[in-house]
């Protein structure tokens, strides 16, 4: 067995039936779960959309810093946001931002101890997906119209 590099792995050492040491599988046991169920899929998407929001924060900071720097710096930022890649990035970020917001509200209800029953979790999950779609369309109507 490879050397343990992380203190938390010390608790994950097991023995095979022949006595040799082995590393026991570490939670969250990705191999045994169906990751395409709505509950698990939305949970993973919450984390991914959160990380995407971080990239969005970097872009927002760039835009603000460029605006504070001067017209040519701002022009460069506006050129990127107006390019094809910029539009794709902004559309992805709108979806991620609204998804993270809607799913975040769902998480706050869970933190308050509500909505844990299976049918409630599925219903709130559907509401998050519908809410994300509606808010994204609304945002882009505001941009394009």
């Amino acid at each position: 067995m490879a050397r343990i590099k992380d203190a938390r792995e010390a608790a994950m050492v097991g023995r095979r039936s022949d006595g040799t040491l082995t590393r026991r599988p570490l939670s969250p046991h990705l191999q045994v779960y169906d990751m395409m169920q709505m509950t698990s899929l939305l949970s993973i998407l919450h984390r991914i959309s959160g990380v995407a929001w971080c990239a969005g924060l970097v872009l927002l900071s760039w835009w603000l810093i460029a605006a504070g720097t001067g017209e040519s710096a701002f022009g460069a930022a506006q050129w990127f946001f107006g390019s094809f890649l910029g539009w794709v990035a902004l559309f992805g970020l709108t979806v991620a931002a609204w998804y993270h917001t809607c799913a975040g509200i769902r998480h706050l209800f869970w933190d308050a101890g509500r909505g844990f029953a299976m049918e409630d979790a599925y219903r709130s999950g559907r509401m998050v997906v519908i809410g994300t779609a509606v808010l994204t369309i609304l945002t882009w109507l505001l941009i394009l119209v």
């Binding site: 203190a7 792995e9 971080c54 603000l64 709108t94 609204w98 941009i143």
Partner: protein
Amino acid sequence: MAEDSASIRSLRSPLGRVRGMGSAKGGTHHWWMQRVTSIALLPLSIWLIFSLARLMGAEYGVVLEWIGNTFNAVLLLAFLTAAFHHAAAGLQVVIEDYVRGELKRFAAICVVNGLAVLLWLAASLSVLRIAL
């Protein structure tokens, strides 16, 4: 009676139990601040996304005027503060989950928090510069 047996079974001091700080010495502070900032970000991000959507492709002068407006500048600074705190706290949890190795994990958390502070300061300074 129940308290008696609990005090025999637990090796934690009564003071440690009351403080509730746990082995990380921070208690629920990290988790709690993430919830508090998330609640603050709810109205702020709804305002920001719709505002930015209306500013798409606007002229430089229009954007300067929008950022320079006191109401917008205050909300922008509030958003940046809550958002960078929330983002750094969230990225830290992601790092703690996936980065193996004590040193590597610690270094990654330091880098993420440092970058978040720098970017927060730079973006906030820019807003203040335009607004003042």
